[in-house]
Every structure is written in structure tokens, then in C-alpha cells.
Symmetry: C2
Subunit: 260 residues, 2 copies
DNA sequence: TGTAGGTATGAATCCGACT
DNA sequence: AAGTCGGATTCATACCTAC
């Protein structure tokens, strides 16, 4: 069973039971985009979308922190995730090149053992820049709560996962400004032990959830925006949007949302 | 014309003229913790040959002593490189995933503008790890001395370089424990403006120098080990070793070596 | 269904003009 | 002045349209 919740991860995750989940796989707002503070303060579409693009995506909030506060905030939500993960279970966090060092700091500050960096190669379709190395990769900073739980993989076939994923972004597979390809996420979720429940505290349009469903993992997703929760629900359910949408989670400690 | 020098980069680079070189491309020792020569002189073969780099580190990288002193030492030699580079010119430093955050810190501490991370994908030939993401990539942390010098690229054709290099490690193209494929390095050296002189303060067996030669760049290489300097000389010259090898650079401020 | 050719796009960046 | 705003740029690939 899947649960999709609308609200702030910093409020919702603490309501979950300790040591109840099997993996965290997420793509938080990077607060990147620009050398100067002013550049980060733009709307996300202004920062990340090419001027003159016809297709429009909704802006998302929480993308204007500076480096220090981004690391501080990341440590907070990663600590919450640490609490609800079972011992030996993995966390995977997407990052761009600029935030990568801060991301590894926050992961370790939250108590995780940093295990490595995997690479998402977006191929040569990524935006070029004359006389420079093309910024065509994003990074998957990953670690575990204590020693990796190899034991739990007994019985089920245990695979080595790739360290570099080559996956281009397709228009018909992109439901969010920063949406990830489904084929990429189907590979990534396999870091979770078979049948384990996966949490994505910043699910966006729900690519992690869709991939989890396709690979047979129960999924818990959280997003600040009702719009995104609706899109994710529709994608994962494979249905059109319901007439009655769930209410926004505010201060009530018991979140509301979809159970699908 | 190429120059190959034997000695300590921290002694030799300061003897070069300020703002006299056009690029720094290098692969420093990853685990060389020492500020002191003796620390770096210890044999690393045993550490690397059996397990690859990752097993030799503790599970808790970051602010331990090895990491701190590596970053400190890196800042020193990068600062030397900063001085001898012309304004607007690039520096490229290879790093493994563990040292990557420290490497970006040191690069910026030395005064460079950090511009990004490129990826060397060693492909699936890298050693697999059950139930984990394969550590199959190394990283090229790169930056520039001030704003990138686009002006100097006028006239010559300027291109966007790839951000992910796929290159398998071939045994017959490997003259050194951590040698890089020539095809990889031929791509990387193109970050240097056409005809510019490239410095590699830790040249090892000279892959950077060989690539520089093939792509038409003058090259200055430094290595602590006479053995490596001899190998590099032979590779770049395409000849057998000379009967009289150059003397080890010690405290004499005017280094000796090959001019080829 | 297949091929060829034109157009749109990308988790940017730089720079100059304006407030 | 520091902060904002907007236009130009880069090229491999996907996507669309015409034949």
C-alpha cells in the first residue's frame, strides 16, 4: 500500500514510527542555480528553465537557501529520516555538483555512514557551455544507517547496482521541472531490500513512487504542494484525478493524504 | 617543448614564473596525508593493489586527521599552481569520491573559482559490490583563476567539452598504478586554450604529458620519483630510456630534468 | 512504415542595463 | 552600490512534420 501526504517533511516524518522504513530515496530542492545570492532568489522556472521555452512547469518553493542554511536544513530532515529508517538501510539523495560537498556533510552530520556517489549521466542532451565541461550529470549521494544490512538480502537475489546511470530526460516522462526519468528511478530503487517500504520526503511529481510501484516496493511520499501530490497520485494510481482532493497538511500531527 | 622534472612539486612550482602557464591538469596522490615529505615517500603499492582505494579508508571520512591534512597539503600545492597560472586559465584535479568534498574545498581555498565536476566513467569493468552502487567513477574537479578567459579562445575553434567521459582502463595502456587511459586524457587536455602550456605537478607515468603532446600542447611535468620521470620521458619521447638519467631534484632551487 | 529535415529543449551562466 | 532583470549563448538529441 502507498501513502501520499501533503505537507512539510520536517513536520510529517517525525510522526512516523521509529525504525519502520527500509529506504529513503529523494531529490530535495538544491537551492542551486547561480554564483550569487541574487541568482538563487529567482523563481525556479527563471533559474532553471531556458528563456524562451514554451512548456511551463509550476515553480516549487524552498529553493532559495544559501549554502549554510541548506546544509543545516538538510541535516534536519536527514536526521528525521535516520530515525525512521531501520538499521542497515540505505538513503539516496540526489544532488547537483554545486551542493554535493554540502550534501555529503549533511548526510554524515545526520548520523549516516557515507558509502559513495553514484552518477546520473543525462547524456549530451544536457545544456552545453562553450569552452567548458558540459554540466551533464547529477549525483546520487548515498549511505546507510550503520553497517549495510547484507543479511536481510539473503534468499532474494542480490545484485550489484550500476555506479553510473545513463538516462536521457524525455518530454513525455517529465511531469515536473526537475522530474527524473522512470527508467533511472526503477534502477535506483533497487538499492532497497526486496519488498521494503521506500520513503521520499520530497516526491515532486512522484517518479520515485512510480518506480517503486513498478518494482514492487510499498511507497510513502511527501510533498509541500497539493498540485504535486495530485499529479503523483494520478501517476501511481494510473487514474485520472479524483473529484475530492485531500486537504493540505498544516499543523495537525496526523497528516492527511492519499492511501492507494 | 616539454620539461620533465624530478622532485617535490611544493619546491619546484614556486621556482616558475608567475602567470606563465595556461592550464594545470593533475591526478594527485589521494591518500597522501602528509605535509611532510617522509609521509608521502612511504610505499602506497600495498595499500592500492589488492583492494582498490576504498578499503584503505575508515568508514568515517570527513574531519579526520588524514582528510584534514590532505586538504591542507592540497591547498598548498594548488596555491602554488594558482600563482603560476595566467588569469582565466583552468585547473583540473582528479579525485575519487571520498576526497571529492575536500578537493573542492582546497581548490577554492587556493583562490580558484570552482566551476564544476566532470566524471570519468570506468564502465562496468570496475569491481562490483554486491547490493551496492558500483564505485565505477572518478571525478574531475575543475575551476579557473578568476573569470574564464573566453577572449583568448578567439580565432581557434572553441567547443563544448563532454561532462562525462566513458573510458575503460586497459592494461596495455597503463604504465602506472593509477594510470589514466590516453584517450581519456586527450579529451581532458582540450580544456586548455590551443597551444597553451600544461602543467602536471604529479605526473606519474606521464599520461597527461603524452596526451598533451598528441594534442599539440607544450607540457611541464613533475614527479617525486625518478622511476616515473624516466617512464614519462620514454613515453613522451617515444624512445627508450637514455643511459644518463637526470638527477633527483633536492634543495637546489633550479630543478634538473629532461628537456625534450 | 520510413526517411529526411527543421525546430524545440536543457536543475545555466554571463554580462550589461536598470532600479 | 547592491540587488534585479532580461537577453544571448551552446549543441546533441528528441520530437515533429512533410514527403
Amino acid at each position: 500500500m502507498n501513502r501520499l501526504l501533503c505537507g512539510d517533511a520536517l513536520r510529517i516524518v517525525p510522526t512516523f514510527d521509529e525504525a519502520s522504513l527500509d529506504a529513503v530515496i529523494t531529490d530535495p530542492p538544491y537551492s542551486s542555480g547561480g554564483t550569487f545570492r541574487g541568482d538563487r532568489m529567482q523563481t525556479t522556472t527563471k533559474k532553471y528553465q531556458l528563456t524562451g521555452t514554451s512548456k511551463t512547469y509550476s515553480d516549487f518553493s524552498g529553493d532559495n537557501r544559501d549554502g549554510r542554511s541548506w546544509a543545516f536544513w538538510s541535516t534536519l530532515w536527514m536526521s528525521d529520516c535516520f530515525r525512521v529508517l531501520k538499521t542497515g538501510c540505505p538513503i539516496v539523495v540526489f544532488s547537483d555538483w554545486r551542493m554535493l560537498p554540502l550534501c555529503t556533510d549533511a548526510l554524515q552530520a545526520a548520523g549516516f555512514v557515507w558509502r559513495g556517489i553514484a552518477v546520473w549521466d543525462k547524456t549530451e542532451a544536457a545544456r552545453p557551455d562553450k569552452g567548458r565541461f558540459r554540466a551533464q550529470a547529477e549525483y546520487l549521494v548515498w549511505g546507510s544507517k550503520g553497517p549495510m544490512a547484507v543479511d536481510r538480502l539473503d534468499g532474494a537475489e542480490t545484485r550489484c547496482l550500476p555506479g553510473v546511470f545513463r538516462a536521457i530526460v524525455r518530454q513525455d516522462d517529465k511531469f515536473h521541472l526537475t522530474g527524473k526519468p522512470t527508467n533511472l528511478m526503477r534502477q535506483v530503487v533497487k538499492i532497497c531490500a526486496p519488498g521494503g517500504t521506500i520513503l521520499d520526503p520530497f516526491m515532486g511529481s512522484g517518479s520515485t513512487g512510480k518506480a517503486a510501484q513498478l518494482e514492487g516496493y510499498p511507497f510513502v511520499g511527501i510533498d509541500l504542494s497539493q498540485h504535486n501530490v495530485d499529479i503523483a497520485q494520478a501517476r501511481i494510481n494510473g487514474k485520472t484525478l479524483p473529484s475530492s482532493t485531500p486537504t493540505l497538511f498544516t499543523s495537525d500531527p496526523s497528516p492527511t493524504g492519499y492511501e492507494i
